[in-house]
Symmetry: C2
């Protein structure tokens, strides 16, 4: 049965009239001559293009109307799995690539047309031939999960694996990761592996490999260049800076957020420019401080998930907060409004939480800017009720930090102290 | 007892050595000559400036080091309350100013140095003399609450009051409102008063009146100009566009968010430029569609707060969702990750919620961008579990819309339909 996965309307007609199916090797004359393999498309793709995987490994979308000539190669090659071991070159720096899954490590399911996370770290490496010219990359698969299914237990798994390489000859560690919760993972690694001697760089992609516009290769190359050329300690997220392919942004792992559902430049450093910009021939440095604010390497790879994130809004039912208190949560991170406020209707419940010894931290749902609870009477009331203002910590980062703190510290005064201590640039001026 | 509220260090020394207290009328020679009344400062202000309320009504911060000469007016005027009725000018458009409280309607408490919401709408009007040249403004106080204490009942109160003026000779209605939850209120008014015949403009300020940099006056003037010169139907939020005073932004009330805790340009239109920019002598129009997508004026001023906002994160305890189900919530708005995902650990609880007939809507914690749940298997699983993708609706707006929908509709199919129907530009291309 011929395969046309994802092709509809004009593009389906085009394939049929040229006797071409998905997987065929073709030569197409358009503005240039393209040789490659016809790739499947998504269910909801337009019908104006066909997508070709070029021999270089890149995908390109070709507009049907501009195609002048199509030649089918006589010996039709099916898409081959590239599992071969990459040759290492002498003298190049060594990098460890750990794969956890996500779009960056995805292949198309030919049956459903859907994207599923099955590409191995080795395949990921070999699918971007440029990498071998910059570094000798060893690849390992940790697991294969989209990041909406990455749980705190996975954070522990990643941290323990990375910790094994404290004393190694790697220049840095790249972690291929789904983008949905990449910033939660980068936060956890920042606290759990504070002071780790070589850079830890999380990299993902917003567009899967059946799209002509996949950002996977450039993000991986950017991460590799960042490690080999810049190499500062810390945990970073490396992704496209915007929609164009010229600049890759390198964000501090505790100051970054996925701020768009689909754009390639979805990740943004909150309240500042990205720490580094990786351009064609140079790395622009916007961050010149130490990422880690503690001395030496002090791994603390534990956590406790009994922390709740409470995003306040008008009409928030205080009984919901009462339930959280009853359920035995040890900490509550509020996403308050503005400078760090919640309505008076919440005060009774907050008082109860405080009396139970629950840690109460305040962040802002504005996301950018600093909470400041001394300006208005609401803020002062909340300070009196025992809520700790968490400066300009991003709500998600405060949540992850609290999980980490509760896994590693018991004393309530120490917990408060550590929550406000700048460990991994989670607090900035 | 002499008053020096908020002055410390150098600035306190300066006042004492010149025999000046807060409330004194002075003439100060610096780069220019300033005449005005010495204002109190905040507890945490720097000690390098003194703040003067000029006779024009504006505040100015004067650097002590640059002050060449200080003269105290012999007849010390205490700050007077301006309660006098403003004279109306013939031929100017009429605007109704409703005050609900917030920083924009605040005065300094001389005892504590704190800002409290007590300024009346009449005082607000008379404190900005420019307004009387643009429009004849009638002022009413609805209540006096900071917006972290504005509850859904207040939304109803505002909507009912505005509804009284459906058939009036006002060109528009300005609502002075605290900034913390102003975007929640603008969303509710957009749905409850869909089709209202004259513009409803919410205006606030980020800096209270004891600061030299208060943005209250310019935002009020901007709102007034917007109504008198542009005058499109709809619900808008008018605030500074950025830190400078040259441009005031006018945002669609369902597409805006407070994205910074303290900046004057804290409000941002999500995923687009502001609908209008109010500059010195012109209004730039970026939005040319109808704000309301329904015909005629169809007020529906009811709501039901039994809707929960669930912001998913790794480690989110599904038992918390179970509690929400048990507590009888009618709707749950998820703030999922990325394109609209939550982890597999949540599926059992989501299934339970769906079986109970609870409305389940998906938005993204990325805030910008569209949810799209057909791309990855997680999304498709969640669609199968009955979750409705809410396009690019902002999470907070989806929450308010659901509260409004549950207050006005009973049938579950109709509820789903209305949640996805574009009523007040809450969905954009």
């Amino acid at each position: 049965m011929p395969e046309y996965t994802g092709y509809v309307g004009q593009s389906l007609e085009f394939l049929k009239s040229n006797d071409i199916v998905v997987g065929d090797s073709v030569k197409i004359l358009s503005d240039l001559t393209y040789s490659g393999i016809v790739m499947p498309r998504y269910e909801h793709s337009d019908d104006k293009h066909i997508v070709l995987k070029l021999n270089s490994g890149y995908n390109v979308g070709l507009e049907i109307e501009k195609i002048k000539k199509v030649e089918k190669n006589k010996t039709t090659q099916k898409i081959v799995e590239k599992n071969e071991k990459i040759e290492h070159s002498q003298g190049l720096p060594k990098i460890l690539l750990l794969s956890t899954g996500g779009t960056i490590a995805s292949k198309i399911d030919y049956r459903t047309g859907a994207v599923t996370p099955v590409l191995t770290a080795e395949e990921l490496n070999s699918s971007v031939p440029e990498l071998a010219k910059i570094a000798n990359i060893d690849a390992q698969v940790l697991f294969s999960e989209y990041s909406e299914n990455i749980m705190p237990e996975h954070w522990l798994g990643i941290a323990k694996k990375v910790n094994e390489f404290e004393k190694s000859d790697y220049s840095g560690i790249i972690i291929a990761h789904g983008t949905d919760t990449m910033h939660y993972t980068s936060s956890f690694l920042s606290f759990a592996l504070a002071g780790f001697p070589i850079p830890i760089v999380l990299v993902g992609s917003q567009r899967s490999s059946d799209r002509a516009s996949s950002d996977a290769a450039l993000n991986l190359i950017g991460a590799t260049k960042f490690i080999t050329e810049s190499n500062p300690k810390g945990v970073y997220i490396v992704m496209h800076q915007d929609e164009n392919d010229n600049t890759i942004a390198c964000h501090l792992g505790t100051r970054v957020r996925k701020n768009h559902t689909s754009k390639r430049g979805a990740f943004q450093t909150i309240g500042d420019n990205p720490a580094f910009i990786i351009a064609e021939n140079q790395i622009l440095k916007n961050f010149s401080k130490d990422y880690f604010k503690i001395n030496g390497y002090q791994p603390k790879i534990n956590l406790d998930t009994k922390v709740a994130l409470v995003k306040y809004h008008p009409g928030y039912d205080p009984n919901l907060l009462n339930q959280i208190i009853e359920m035995g949560f040890k900490g509550i991170i509020f996403e308050g409004t503005g400078l760090g406020h919640i309505g008076k209707t919440m005060y009774e419940s907050v008082k109860k939480a405080n009396e139970k010894g629950i840690f109460l931290g305040m962040t802002s749902q504005c996301i950018d800017g600093r909470v400041r609870m001394t300006v208005y009477e609401s803020g002062r009331d909340l300070l009196d009720l025992g809520i700790i203002p968490l400066e300009n910590m991003i709500p998600e980062v405060a949540l992850v930090k609290a999980m980490w703190v509760f896994g590693n510290y018991q004393d309530s005064e120490e917990i408060k102290k550590i929550m406000l201590q700048n460990i991994a640039s989670e607090l900035t001026d």
